[in-house]
Every structure is written in C-alpha cells, then in structure tokens.
Symmetry: C2
C-alpha cells in the first residue's frame, strides 16, 4: 500500500460543493486511516472567481479555468457538483479521457447521458461514481451494484423527491391544500422559486431512470419514464385515500415484467401499512424487491448539503481505496442487458377514480356497463355528497391494463350524465 | 481483466448453505457479466457425508475432509456457513493463512474473535467479508464500511432479532401474552426449540457488537454488551406503552458518547413515530445517525435461507471482483480506534417503572422523595388500578444516569409500602 496524497478537484462550490469541502475537512485525519492516504482538494472550479464565499473555503484553491484542472496530472479525482448538462458533461468526459476518476451528483446528466459517461469510464479503466445522484445521503447505488448483486430485482419503488413528499405530508396530516403546502415548502427552502422540476415529477423521473438502470442492468433514460406530478392532487382525494386505508405519495416505480421494463412517476394510493407509507416530511426512501433478499428498504435524507456530501465523500473514499490498490474500474457499467421499455398503456395496476355525475337513476348502471365492456372490473363504487341534483362517485377498480381503463374513461367522459372526471390516481397493491 | 473460473468451497450445507447453493445456481450465467468470471462451487464440507440431502445439490461435491479443501490451491474463496465457534474459527484462520479469501455469516465467531480473524486477513492481504452476519439480507456492513465512511457515526439502533420482534408484534397487535406469542413463533419456525439465544437478547448482542465495531472503528465484543431479554415483558407494560405513545421493541443500541462506547440490548419504549417503531413481524431494521448523513435506516429480512444467501453471494461477487482486479484486502479491518467501553451504570436514559404499592396516604410522597434524593426527576407519575388496599403506580423519569436510578430503586424496594417493582424498562427519546 503506497502512502501518498490523493489530490482532487471540485467542480462547483454551491450547496453540495461547500458540504463536500466541510466533510473533507472534518475527515482529514481519519481519511489516512480509512484509505491509507491523505485526500487533498487542489483546485475548485467556479464560474465567478470574485463572488463572495464562505470563510471556511481556502480562496487560493479557487479557479475559473478548467484547463488548470484537466491538465494537472496530479489531480486523480474530479468531483462534479455543479449540476446541469453542460459544461458538466464535457468536463466529465474530458476528465475520464485524461485518466482521471470522477464522482458526480448530477442526476440530470446521468439520466440522459449515463451510457456515454460510463462507457468512457470503462474504456479508460477509471471509476465513475454517482451515489449522490439518487436519494442524496441514502446508500442505494452501491447496495444495488454490490450488496444486492446476487438478486434478480423485479421491483423498485421510491419516494425520491423530498419537496413533493413534504407537500403531500402537509396535505395529509395538516389538511393544507396544495398551494398552501407548496408555499410552506418554499418558505423552508424545500421548494425552489420555480418548483416545476419537483412538483411535476421530473426530478423523481431522473432518479427512477438511474435506479431502473442499476436494478435491471439495462439502460433506462429520463425520456423512457412516464411522468405525472402532484399539482392536481386535492384534499378531497387525500381524504378518500384515508377513508379507504391508503396514503397518497409521489412514487417512482420501476418494474421488470417478463423482461419488459416499466418506469413511471406518479401520485399513488399506497396501502397505509406499506413500508413507504410512513416515510414523511422531506425524507426519502427506496423499496426494493429481489428474488433472494425479498423486501428491503433504504431510508434517509434525499437532499441537503451534508447528506449529499456524505454520499459524495463516500464515493471519494471508495475511489481512493481503488487508487491505492490499483483497481480503478473494478466495477464498471453494469448495464449488460438491453431490455424493452413498456409504454404506460401496457402497465397493469388498479385505479382510484373520482367523478361528478348527475344524480339520477341509472347513472351507476351506465358507468358500470362502460367499464364492463372494456374489461375493467370494479372493486368498489361509492356514491357520495348527493346535493342539488349532483353526486360524487368514488370508484376503485381491480387490476387492469392502463389502455383499457383510458378507453373506458374516454367513453364515460362523453356520457351526458357525467359532469367531470375529477381524479384518476393509480393504486398500489395491498399485500 | 482475466477470464477464468473462480472456485469456491462451501463449509456447511444447512439452511443458509443450501440458499447459497441455490442463488449461485440461479446467477450462474449472470455472474460472468457481473464479475467477469464464472464462479463454481468445487467442494462442500459437511459433517455427515451420508445424510440425505436436497436433490438440487450435486452430491459429488460433498466431502467431510477439510484437508481436501484447504490443500486445494484452485479454491480461492471459502464460504463458512456452518456456524458456531469451532471448528469454524480454525478453518477460517487456516484458510486466510493459506491465502484464500473468506465469506462468513457467523455472528457468534465475529462478535468474539473478529479481531483475530480480521488481523489474519490483513496480514495476508485477503478479504474477510461478513455482510450476512448482521441483519441477514439487509445491506448494512458494506454501507457502514463504504457508503457512510465519510461520517462520524454517533448512534446505531437496531431491531436485529426477528424472533423477538415477531413475539413483541404479536403481543402488541394481537394482545397475546409472552408464552402464547413464543409458542406461535415456534410453530412458524421463527423461534428454535431452545429459544434462549433469541429471547434473552444474546443473538442481538452479538450483532450490535459487530455493528458497533464497524460504526465506531473500535473493537466491541459480545462480552462488552449489556444484555436484557424480553421474557419479563408483560401485556400490562405493552398496554401502558401504547397509552403513553410508545411501542415496546427489543433494541440493540450502540452510542459514541465523547469517545466512550455504550452498547446494550434491552427492551425499550420507542416513540411511536420513530422509524424503528413501525418495523413489525420478523422484519429487521438498522437506524444510523451520522454527522453528515443525518438519519438513515436500512430495513428488510434479517434471517431466512434466501435473504441470508443474498448477502453471502453479494460478498462472493465483491471478492470475485477483487480477485479479478488483484485487489483483495482493499478494505481490511476498519477498527483503527481503541475507545473505552462505558458500563451500563454510566448510561443516561429515561425509564418507565411500574410498581405495586399499598394504597395509603403518603405513598407517592415517599417514593418521590427517594427519587429526589438520588437526582432522579420524574416526568410523570400515574396511579392506577386501586383495589383492595393496593395500587399500581406507573412512573416515567427524565433522563438520568443508570446508577442513580438503580440506587434509588434499591432503597424503594426496601420501603414497607412497596409490594413489588414489576417493571423497569428504558425509554427512547421523543424527537
């Protein structure tokens, strides 16, 4: 085992970058014991060198010149925590090509260009580690690549967006409506000024794409994921969910159904005794089903300066060990399969439907007969709130192929007795 | 990367051994893709060669002669799933000395002789992997050694014995008493004919010793762990716990308090919104607090043929990758600290106390004054069930050092008004 200093460069010094800086400082002396080598930040790349920064950061390390980093042969690990597609993508590819190892927290990039990046790492026998890209501090990437490698995994379900989980928790336990809950999330810094990526499910979709690729050893990209956000969830749906024994969560789901991959992000009725159902506030969790392990769940903080830094520095330590033992590239891209992606129309699940109808005889019969004609069988139908000639009908279907349900809904929408289809939410299986 | 066959030997063909055999068979073709090499079982060591075994096992592999294995230079990984201290310990030491890597699921051995085994592995630059020794299929050993390596961990709490968790779940949700619940656990195969190691907490103590060693990088052995089992838990305590907003769980706890390690296994009042409180039936979970990651939890099956095999084969895959990349010994023993172990008398926590007293004026005052004299302050005192001149008193204390509480109880026990101290159970902090 050589005793030397491993030099690294940080790309980006925002929230996560500052967290990584702090954790590396905290762990300075311990890293020698953990890796067998010191780890030293040699350069930090920023966009604006003159911006005022935290006092804790040694300003001499700061540069705005990528060439100073890429051409520095002493730097063995590049830690990309700048986010966004470019210039991060170019920097990572150049770094791998130059024989440097890379740690990244960049889910946008991985969910779109993971294949190119991992291929480049393999080609040069270097490590590309990305534990922080999914569910922040929660160990899930390495457990899937290593600890659970003996499994055929057939399902991953995750609460992998803290903002939406916080909003839904407030809606469920404090009876806030969506707008009010979003406002609170903004106040606490859980939601950004433009919350689109979170509340429309895009952020969760990127993460489930990465998880699906790891779980099924087959490349899944952001564009392969069906996405629905939580903006249409009303307090009425939350209340009905409770009545029926469920909670509503924004869930990322990836399934291997006879070697067809399904990936989707949407609000879901989760049975209240499902392990994910009690994951509240801004916490994240990833639930895995495999043929050997059975059920496993990983829970923790999905975001935040220090939790994300925990994952990034964990990756740095792992790569450090590989550098010392000359074994970088020891676990490269694990996507050796090339499985088909199922469109959402082929997905089979049950549904919760809420609709406003005219309150007259025969309404139930008309609706039921349309469903019957489309092979949609109904588990329960409840008529509620009958006032002023109108009624609300709440239906839970049995498991059915999405396209049959959508065809049936198309026709029901056209019926003269229907005022509005107010909600269509997928329902998770009760065990 | 070399393309070759990695040959392994299984020591033991019980439940777990058979599981490992099955999982390796299932994964046969996939392992080439995952590791870059085939993995082949060359020998299986058993005590009795003539015993009738499952048809799935190739009987030509079976031997009762350890020398056939230890002297076979082709065998690179020894998988010890026989359990017990001897001959497992001798075999593992001999194997490491002979330059073989070892995977073991043996918590008894690790909790007592972990240091000797890991030192031997380091000395020969070989891997000793033991993911299966704690919490079965749940990835926790590797997450602590790798994913969370950037953290100073200050607390680990685990529900790490499925038998007792099953019994307490039945007592809590189906109002069974201990004996009845134990009987059910036996019927389902969750409890052994002699359930002592489970119900007295010894099994959990071995596991928390291993977890503490990993978390605090300092050797903790079985003998360092304070242990109390669940045999004295009554339905009355379960009912009071519910009333006070708690559930009773058998918890393994390891804390680093100013570089003093506390390790203990005992029943505990857990606040009902603690992530561990909803871990029911025979499920296990390990809850970790670290300075960077914050709170994280790992949940799943803590035992069983296939979940345990999932962990064992995950270790085989990892060692296989190290063999291919010539990097065995890349993560050796991480116990580089030598921290002091705190005795239970120094532990600070709050307590639930239940006692039978004579129902007369001044009783409460006498008890309260003894506690007051010993610096034990009381959070709540409730008098219950006053009949026939007797009453039951339920007390919850504030946080206090164990020795002060025990001193106070010693004196209270001697008071003429006290009929019995029926229960003393530690209480977890509400957040």
């Amino acid at each position: 085992m050589e005793s030397k200093v491993i030099k690294i460069a940080l790309l980006g010094l925002g929230n996560v970058g500052t967290g990584v800086y702090k954790v590396l400082e905290n762990q300075k002396d311990l890293l020698v014991k953990k890796i067998g080598s010191q780890v030293e930040i040699k350069k930090i790349l920023v966009r604006d060198k003159n911006k005022k920064r935290s006092d804790i950061v040694n300003s001499e390390l700061i540069t705005d010149n990528w060439q100073e980093i890429i051409q520095d042969e002493e730097i063995q690990i590049i830690v990309e925590v700048m986010g966004g597609i470019e210039p991060a993508k170019t920097y990572i590819l150049e770094a791998l090509e130059a024989g440097k190892n890379v740690v990244t927290a960049n889910k946008d990039l991985l969910a779109e260009y993971g294949k190119d990046l991992l291929n480049m790492a393999s080609l040069h026998n270097k490590d590309l580690a990305f534990e922080a890209s999914v569910a922040g501090g929660i160990p899930i990437v390495r457990p899937l690549k290593q600890c659970l490698a003996a499994n055929n995994i057939y399902e991953i379900m995750g609460i992998i967006n803290g903002t939406t989980n916080y909003i839904l928790t407030k809606m469920t336990y404090e009876n806030l409506d969506f707008d009010k809950a979003l406002e609170e999330a903004k106040k606490l810094g859980y939601a950004e000024a433009d919350p689109t990526a979170d509340i429309e499910g895009y952020d969760a979709a990127r993460k489930i794409a990465i998880l699906a690729s790891l779980a099924f050893q087959s490349r899944v990209s952001f564009k392969d994921v069906y996405v629905e956000g939580i903006t249409k969830i009303s307090t009425a749906d939350i209340e009905y969910a409770r009545e029926l024994g469920y909670v509503i969560k924004l869930v990322g789901i990836a399934r291997n159904v006879n070697d067809n991959i399904e990936t989707r992000v949407h609000p879901m009725f989760l049975p209240k005794d499902h392990p994910l159902a009690s994951v509240n506030d801004s916490f994240n969790a990833v639930f895995v089903r495999g043929d050997a392990v059975g059920e496993a769940m990983f829970f923790g903080r999905g975001a935040g300066e220090l939790p994300t830094a925990s994952a990034v520095v964990g990756d740095i330590i792992d790569i450090g060990r590989n550098i010392i033992h000359h074994s970088t590239g020891r676990i490269s891209c694990t996507c050796y399969n090339n499985l088909n992606i199922h469109p959402i129309s082929e997905v089979e699940t049950s549904y919760y439907l809420r609709m406003k109808v005219k309150d007259k005889p025969g309404v139930m019969a008309s609706i039921a007969s349309v469903f019957g004609n489309h092979d949609v069988s109904l588990a329960s139908v409840i008529q509620k709130h009958r006032t002023q000639g109108k009624a609300e009908i709440v239906i839970v279907t049995d498991i059915v192929k999405e396209k049959y349900l959508q065809d049936a809904l198309q026709i029901i929408k056209g019926l003269s007795i229907i005022e509005e289809i107010s909600a269509v939410i997928r329902v998770g299986d009760k065990n």
